[in-house]
């Protein structure tokens, strides 16, 4: 598993499942956080501020949609895309 995906999985497990992703709390990387009841509306805010602080990416209101944030796989792809965007921006600026 790539490091980013593993990190995000751990953050979700530690913060929203209190460290216990076993039994009925087990989830796959594709599972919808909403449908599984893992991340609720305030959880989305926590997730977003974690991503901004930890990965130094800039998240706009327009980014706050389920396609970007509603599973481990979606968040992983979202963070990777945001990092590429900001690197490209930095190169242009340089």
């Amino acid at each position: 598993m790539e490091p980013l995906r593993a990190e995000l999985r751990k953050f979700i497990t530690d913060n929203f499942l209190f460290g216990d992703a076993s039994g009925r709390f087990a989830f796959s990387d594709e599972d919808s956080f909403q449908e599984r009841g893992i991340v609720d509306s305030t959880g989305v805010l926590e997730l977003v501020s974690h991503l901004q602080e930890h990965y130094a990416i800039n998240i706009e209101d327009d980014d706050l949609i389920p396609d970007n944030l509603d599973s481990v796989t979606k968040v992983t792809a979202f963070v990777e895309r945001k990092r590429r965007d900001s690197e490209a921006g930095a190169r242009r600026a340089g």
Binding site: L17, F18, Q34, D40, S41, V44, L45, I65, P66
Partner: protein
């Protein structure tokens, strides 16, 4: 009138009108009325007879709506269980209701195939005084308590609410509230009563996506609780919904800043502040033109009902004096399911054939008769509109062998209004960490009941009578948050 008449009448009048939009599907009144008749046939084949309870533990969906009306047409009583609750809680509700069938996520395909089946059922004959729904609410110790609402209760409230909101068949109402709550269920009954369209959402976790849907579907009515208003103002800045005609707020008061934020965000919309409890669904509303005059008021009784403030002897108190709110009218519940003592303590005789509801909530009225919520008379914590009983959480924490004493209380939160906090003393010679307590709670409680703050201390403050004082803990937490 029966609740299912609301759907049937609109299906007769405007069969091709869209009734519900959900998950990208659009169902007309005719389709939904037919689908629910097929569900009724499937239930009757499965042995459901009039008066039977059928529990449905599903997210907001077309299947849930078809099931509700199918159960009614089969003569049954529907029990919607909030999709957010734990399996244990859902089982406790289903068992308390004595449900013949529980339809959950694993069996939803049965409903979906029944909706597309061939046999239809003529509607069972019932009277409007038959119970239509059990709406479960939290008792003071966290035990589930079923509020019995009759067909008349539900249709009377729908008519009164549609009346003051000015709902017509041109309205499109976006509902993200669970149908397990009267506030969410009421969006269906009010809309179906006038032939309007309901856009059903599962949650309000992504306000940006909700606003996009509102623009696309030209939504005219938006029911909110304060948490949703906060999320909307935080995350969906700069977005306009020109079609929006009104916004409603209930469950808890909106802070003035949020009220103004909403008015700025939706300049064309009228804002209704409302108050209710499950036992009467809705008690009062503030006509929007009064918002500038008395922003903190929850208004006047809904049409066709009364709501007055009384003292301990049941006498109406003068303006400005705090007392208990008493509600009368066709919207007041028939009682609590299988709980005659609890029923007798809140529903008291009030003249021939009428009973009045003692809400347990403290209110005052101003000189013009407008009502103001003062406080709840119990310790219930309101987390994002969900009532949480401290005792239920205390019982779970007390199961840990290293816990000597525990007190659970509410602390203010910007998004949720209140969140749960716990103070704990360890058994002599033992240690305990906040993480252990929270993990244990998460294994046994819904996520919104897991204490966000857990403090471990040497002793807990007590009242004069030696009981642990939740009020003192709450006051100390408030003082710590706002240092002088």
């Amino acid at each position: 009138m029966l609740v299912d008449d609301l759907l049937a009448a609109s299906a007769d009048r405007r069969p091709e009108k869209t009734a519900v939009i959900c998950d990208g599907e659009r169902w007309t009144y005719r389709q939904l009325d037919d689908a629910s008749s097929r569900v009724a046939a499937w239930l009757a084949d499965g042995g459901v007879v009039p008066g039977d309870r059928v529990a449905i533990w599903l997210e907001n969906s077309i299947a849930l709506v078809a099931a509700i009306f199918g159960i009614l047409k089969a003569g049954g009583i529907f029990v919607v269980i909030n999709a957010r609750v734990t399996p244990d809680h859902a089982a406790a509700v289903a068992s308390d209701s004595g449900a013949r069938i529980l339809i959950g996520r694993e069996t939803v395909s049965d409903i979906q195939s029944a909706m597309r089946g061939t046999s239809r059922r003529r509607r069972s004959s019932r009277t409007e005084n038959d119970v239509a729904a059990l709406i479960y609410t939290s008792g003071s110790t966290g035990e589930p308590k079923g509020v019995m609402l009759t067909h008349r209760n539900l249709t009377a409230a729908a008519e009164a609410i549609s009346g003051y909101l000015g709902n017509t068949e041109d309205d499109v109402i976006l509902n993200a509230l669970p149908l397990a709550f009267t506030y969410g269920l009421g969006q269906l009954t009010t809309a179906f009563g006038v032939g309007a369209t309901v856009v059903l959402e599962r949650s309000f976790a992504y306000p940006r996506a909700i606003v996009d849907t509102m623009v696309r579907e030209r939504v005219t009515g938006l029911p909110l609780v304060p948490t949703m208003a906060t999320l909307l103002l935080k995350q969906a800045n700069g977005l306009r919904v020109p079609s929006l005609r009104y916004v409603t707020n209930a469950a808890a008061a909106l802070a003035p800043a949020k009220l103004h934020g909403l008015l700025e965000r939706f300049p064309g919309a009228r804002l209704f502040s409302m108050y209710g409890q499950t036992e009467c669904q809705r008690a009062s509303y503030l006509p929007p033109e009064q918002l500038a005059v008395r922003p903190e008021s929850v208004g006047i009784p809904i049409p066709g009902t009364t709501a007055i403030v009384v003292d301990d002897f049941g006498r109406r108190v003068p303006p400005g004096v705090v007392g208990e709110l008493i509600v009368r009218g066709p919207h007041v519940m028939a009682g609590y399911w299988n709980r005659p003592a609890a029923t007798a303590s809140v529903l008291r005789p009030a003249g021939p054939g009428e009973r009045e509801l003692h809400t347990g909530d403290l209110f005052r009225a101003d000189a013009e008769g407008f009502l103001y919520f003062v406080a709840r008379a119990d310790d219930l914590i309101k987390v994002g509109g969900e009532k949480v009983a401290p005792k239920e959480i205390e019982h779970v924490i007390a199961e840990l062998p290293s816990v000597a004493d525990v007190a659970v209380f509410g602390v203010p939160d910007d998004v949720l209004g209140e969140v749960v906090a716990a103070a704990i003393t360890p058994m002599p010679g033992m240690t305990i960490s906040a993480d252990v307590v929270r993990r244990h709670c998460h294994g046994h409680l819904e996520s919104f009941k897991v204490p966000r703050d857990v403090s471990v201390r040497a002793s807990l403050p007590t009242t004069d009578t030696g009981k642990v004082s939740r009020r003192a803990l709450r006051a100390a937490a408030l003082a710590a948050e706002r240092p002088a």
